[in-house]
Symmetry: C2
């Protein structure tokens, strides 16, 4: 590293004067390990996460890119048992519907996947995209309005890595009716659900995706092919 | 680090036997620096990127999460001058339209931003989402079909960090008509443009976003607030 701040002076970096860091091969190798060990975690221990660590995660997420610097992500932390129960119900309805759409053997595999994590995860965050934000003045999203929700999705991928780097597991639940979640949490009408996150200390660590381990879906090469034109 | 592979044995990790890594505070601090110094880069040197490094970046991107392990990202590398010129034209048309929609002072600021990078960037990748993929068997996207394109957006955020960790700059161009780009590059009808990427060695490094530096849009606190329910 050409520049390496002390443990707490990260926030005092002067924007104008700081020298850009050079990330060395040790860091690059560890970043690769982080990518390999990030998992969609579904099994959590029930002990709470330190509030300072949660705040730190959110601060890191704030450094994510967004179209026109619009930062359209909005957070609802779901704590009360009644609301958590409603989210659980929403999941169960969508899950049952999804099961009905799959053939029997696939449905059995699916049922085994324990997709929820909703019962145990100490921290549950509904993350929305504010389609009505004026921040960013519309830059970069006139011909591609979907850039706003893509910015939220990108931020979530970064949050995932940050969580894993602290030993925390994160699961992204998408087997939900997003309109119903927005209604349950009574958010402004311009907010659209992007993710419902379960975060906590994982019961176990794995290098292979759960969906591979349970023979749902292996990684394929289609997504690695590059067409040159 | 509890486990640290040698420089080239990362790919030979046994999925079943490897011990999970513990990321220490040195790595966590450097990851935070990486987030801080990642930028949407628009000014590139014209020298090419080593092909091995490009392949390595794509390999790292493959480790990104995706709904149901669907890996819906698809890549077109745009090399021929004729096609690059068509993309440039597409950008100019959309850019002119965007300028017309802003008031005069904002339009001047906008024009100064040098949004393109399209002339100089040695590596240009159009990244699509394959809405027709069977991979993942539809898991996790029945009630939220947008999860497929969110997976591509998340992968792009991870690619951004990987590129920066190698000193490479990346710019995400969204001032484009996405349907026109798909037509120009003659991709299958199920492919939808998510990003047009300009990648290369940056002319300069900055800690503050270009849009802040040019007084387009500062970061705001709305996106950091958490509603607790």
């Amino acid at each position: 590293m050409a520049y390496m701040p002390g443990p707490s002076d990260g926030d005092q970096l002067s924007f104008r004067d700081a020298a850009p860091p050079i990330f060395d091969s040790t860091f690059q190798d560890q970043l690769e390990l982080l990518l390999k060990w990030r998992r969609d975690v579904r099994r959590f221990r029930r002990d709470p996460i330190d509030e300072e660590l949660i705040a730190h995660m959110l601060d890191l997420a704030q450094l994510s890119p967004s179209v026109g610097n619009s930062q359209p992500w909005r957070w609802v932390r779901v704590e009360t048992p009644a609301l958590r129960a409603k989210i659980r119900e929403n999941f169960e309805t969508c899950n049952a519907k999804a099961l009905a759409d799959f053939d029997e053997s696939r449905a059995r595999a699916y049922a085994k996947l324990k997709l929820e994590g909703l019962d145990a995860a100490p921290l549950q965050l509904a993350v929305f995209c504010d389609g009505g934000t004026a921040q960013g003045h519309g830059l970069g999203r006139q011909s591609m309005p979907e850039m706003l929700s893509y910015s939220v999705a990108g931020m979530l991928a970064i949050l995932w890595l940050c969580a894993r780097s602290q030993g925390l597991g994160m699961g992204w639940v998408s087997i939900l009716d997003p309109v119903q979640v927005a209604r349950t949490l009574d958010v402004p009408p311009s907010w659209q659900l992007v993710a419902y996150l379960c975060i906590g200390w994982p019961v176990e660590d794995h290098l292979d995706p759960e969906l591979e381990r349970h023979r749902w879906q292996e990684r394929q090469d289609d997504s690695r092919r590059v067409i040159v034109k």
